[in-house]
């Protein structure tokens, strides 16, 4: 097959090229940014148990056979929540939504469809979750 590009010569103690300087500066900036971010998060991030805030609203997307709703869960606590089960109630209709993980500080959404004849404002609440 093709003869690929030959390996370039590498001096043992040659001067840095402009590209190497650029890579070094960019790399140093990226590393310091991550380290600083982790330090700040560790010192000032939320602490304590998971604190899940749920909102529900009619979804704009069309759905066959019912009324589509969008459930949004935000975790403002200091611990992630796994296997989050949200119970959605509209009138007499009840549905469950399962979210695998809502990490601390994250927002996750899921869609649920209730019967078209379910009248009234939708209500949602977290019924259970586990700690990872």
């Amino acid at each position: 097959m093709t003869a690929k590009r030959a390996s370039g010569a590498r001096g043992i103690k040659r001067q840095r090229t402009p590209l190497e300087w650029a890579l070094l500066i960019v790399s140093l900036a990226a590393t310091l940014a991550v380290v600083a971010g982790l330090v700040v998060s560790g010192l000032e991030g939320p602490r304590g148990a998971a604190d899940l805030q749920v909102t529900i609203a009619d979804a704009n997307a069309p759905a066959s056979g019912g009324r589509p709703l969008e459930v949004t869960v935000t975790n403002v606590g200091g611990t992630s929540a796994q296997n989050v089960i949200v119970e959605v109630t509209v009138g007499d209709a009840t549905r469950e939504v399962n979210l695998d993980l809502v990490a601390k500080g994250d927002t996750e959404s899921a869609a649920v469809v209730v019967p078209a004849d379910a009248a009234g404002p939708p209500h949602a609440e977290v019924v259970s979750y586990t700690n990872p």
Binding site: M1, T2, A3, K4, R5, A6, S7, G8, R10, G11, I12, K13, E20, L23, L24, V26, S27, L28, A29, A30, T31, A33, V34, V35, G37, L38, V39, S41, G42, G45, T79, S80, Q82, L101, A103, K104, G105, D106, T107, E108, S109, P132
Partner: protein, 256 residues
């Protein structure tokens, strides 16, 4: 590019691991920071003894910084590509997942020279021509795909990735191996002489190697019952698995 190649080889399997996404978001930032510091120290030592610049080991700290920084950037890029970090991800969690993923990638950077011997593998010269290259590409793809195909990650990722991201994943599956094989300057490429044939040319070889990785991925998924029909979902699963498989195919060609 040698460092990027080494980082991709060691880092991509971890990138396809749910637990990495989970722990990057749930483990304390202080613990992840400790892991980064330990990894950096290991990278300094590895850069002194191995490194990603052959023959240059007198600036191990500088090389470790470059390796760590580029690992962070490469990890962040791949996590965004795979939709593991997005608009709903808090900065703290994005940093956590990126930092955790960058640890093995940075180790790959630091041992870039050693991952594929400069002279190629033993008896490498006996495998010649396009057919031989595609054979070793298939073997490399098989090793990587076989590790990931039985897991839930290809299914999960394929279900969550939209068409645009899948398109970019195909692009990454072509560009990254192309850069690894033709620009990373490692492996026994010096001994690989030009030959006539249908697979002549870097672009043709890259496309054919991806085709091989795609077929191997489809076969692996079919073997484990993850693909049993031809539809969009099946194609998405194969594309998702074909990315690490194409990295494996590139590694196979680098070794020979």
């Amino acid at each position: 590019m040698r460092g990027v190649a080494g980082g991709a080889i060691l880092g991509v399997p971890l990138l396809y691991t749910q637990e990495t996404w989970l722990h990057g978001r749930s483990v304390s930032p202080v613990v992840i920071l400790a892991g980064v510091i330990v990894a950096f120290a290991a990278n300094v030592v590895l850069s002194y003894f191995v490194g990603f610049r052959p023959g240059r080991t007198h600036r191990p700290t500088e090389d470790a910084v470059v390796g760590m920084g580029l690992s962070v950037l490469l990890s962040a890029l791949l996590l965004v590509l795979l939709d593991r970090v997005g608009r709903g991800t808090s900065l703290e969690n994005a940093l956590g997942v990126t930092a955790l993923t960058s640890v093995p990638v940075s180790i790959g950077f630091s041992v870039g020279v050693a991952l594929a011997p400069r002279g190629g593998g033993e008896k490498a010269e006996q495998i010649q021509g396009g057919g031989g290259d595609l054979l070793v590409a298939a073997a490399g793809a098989l090793v990587f795909a076989l590790n990931i195909a039985p897991t839930a990650e290809p299914i999960l990722l394929a279900a969550e990735l939209d068409g645009v991201r899948l398109g970019f994943l195909v692009l990454a599956s072509l560009v990254l191996p192309y850069l690894m094989v033709f620009y990373a300057e490692f492996g026994g490429r010096e001994r690989r002489v030009a030959s006539d044939g249908a697979t002549q040319g870097p672009i043709t070889e890259t496309l054919l190697a991806y085709a091989v990785a795609f077929v191997v991925s489809a076969a692996m998924l079919a073997m484990f019952g993850r693909v049993d029909t031809l539809n969009g979902a099946a194609a998405a699963r194969v594309v998702t698995l074909a990315f690490p498989a194409s990295i494996g195919a590139a590694l196979g060609r680098l070794l020979i």
